[in-house]
Point group: C2
Chain length 298, copies 2
Amino acid sequence: MFTEHFVNINGDIVLGDKAQISIFDRGFLFGDSIYEVTYSENGAVLFLDEHLDRLYQSAMYIDLELTLTRDQLKKELLRTLKASTYPRAYIRLIITRGTNEINLDPTLSQENNFIIIVKPLPEYPEALYKKGLFLTISSIERNSIKSTNPRAKSGNYLNNVMALNEAKKKNADDAIMVNSNGNVTEGTTFNIWFVKDSILHTPSLNSGLLKGITRDKVINICEVNNLTLRVDTFSPSDFLDADEMFISSSTKGIMPVYKLDDKVFGSDIKDWPMIDQLIKLYSNYKTKYQQNTKYKYL
Amino acid sequence: MFTEHFVNINGDIVLGDKAQISIFDRGFLFGDSIYEVTYSENGAVLFLDEHLDRLYQSAMYIDLELTLTRDQLKKELLRTLKASTYPRAYIRLIITRGTNEINLDPTLSQENNFIIIVKPLPEYPEALYKKGLFLTISSIERNSIKSTNPRAKSGNYLNNVMALNEAKKKNADDAIMVNSNGNVTEGTTFNIWFVKDSILHTPSLNSGLLKGITRDKVINICEVNNLTLRVDTFSPSDFLDADEMFISSSTKGIMPVYKLDDKVFGSDIKDWPMIDQLIKLYSNYKTKYQQNTKYKYL
């Protein structure tokens, strides 16, 4: 089942079917772990520095001490990619707080476990970029900043699993979630945006959401290209009243939304000029990055 | 490190050091799992039916379809206990939604993974039952019923890990948590109670907490023994104003709290007549149960 997966477990690279971890690992017992997902194209990792920056942010939010250096993480990641020989790969890096006698107390663990998964990049159907996604507004609230802060990209993803589960039952592709104030936060694995009267809008970090790498890039692209952007708190009705809607994600990039609950935004990328423009700007941004990156492994 | 642990993984019983699971298991990736903890004494499992009932409740809350029957779970559990030959054992049963290609979508998994861990029961120092615990009120809110419902005993325990982490930094033994309304919910791994003017009080389920098995037993003991009990929403000040405070947990039973933040309830079980009485009543209740249980394995 996992024969195409190259997995680095604490320095040992094995094929996916042999990739195992102790059931006493805190990631398994409590979801006490953090992770990052990115990908490579043409044998070069996309935005590796940014993902490692965020990994350190996640570690800070859950008070997880990283027992590997940043250089060790980079080295192991590039070594795993090289072993795979995949020029175009999905990359997942997981750091758990480690293994100790069954006990919630996080101070009992002395050393992290790290796992790097490399597999062929799943190709999303081109139609999704042309025709868009159908999303629903979940009845399940996003975890609060004051409880399990969504700013930490952690192994506690049941909140998002449940929202996606609900969306699938409605035959939707995925879900977006509100916080306890009723304001929109993010999707289950992506940030969300809307366009109204040619102005871009995206929920602010204090709505309770992950600081997406692609979200950061789009914000940057808006600034450089003089596109007006409003980062604020928004209600579901702000989204339902929009002209265009899209998602941003490290693996999916920028993808339009054609429908949110009963609201239809259109049926084709031709209906969404701002999204069309952003997809092109983001593609150019990535091309430039790849030409200059030092994170090549093939 | 885990040489005293007997672990049953999907039917294979191995020693703890060899107990491993695929890193693609959803429990490891997303905390997409449920679990129960109980123990055995004199070769008999305590409250097994009640724990299995709650396991099914947890499964319902996260829409996890159990692919093993209740009888299979019981059989595997008793088989693992028998293999250990421990008359007095800690027992942890974990069910994950299973293994599938990395994707949040819970419908992709066809079959659960189950893990049963049996190890010698850790003995809590007798002094804790006489002198009590020092708890703090956490600044981290308990996950909301509307986001990650605490009624499901799941593999998403980072919320509790963070509260315990904070407590340890204050040199406390453990923490209790409030919800977003500021009402008290539960401890990190236990339910909580207080006594005021000889009346017992414990937070209601709609405060957002796990329906503890020992909590249920204490409620039952109150009824049978005509002890007045109020189950309601309570603020931290209700607890800080109490005469006695205690916790209930499957592994710890009933244990007094001598201090909550700056409030000192006393220094010895002699100061807490109601707790003293309840510990005795609960002990008698357990003895009777053990004399009549059909879940003997030695």
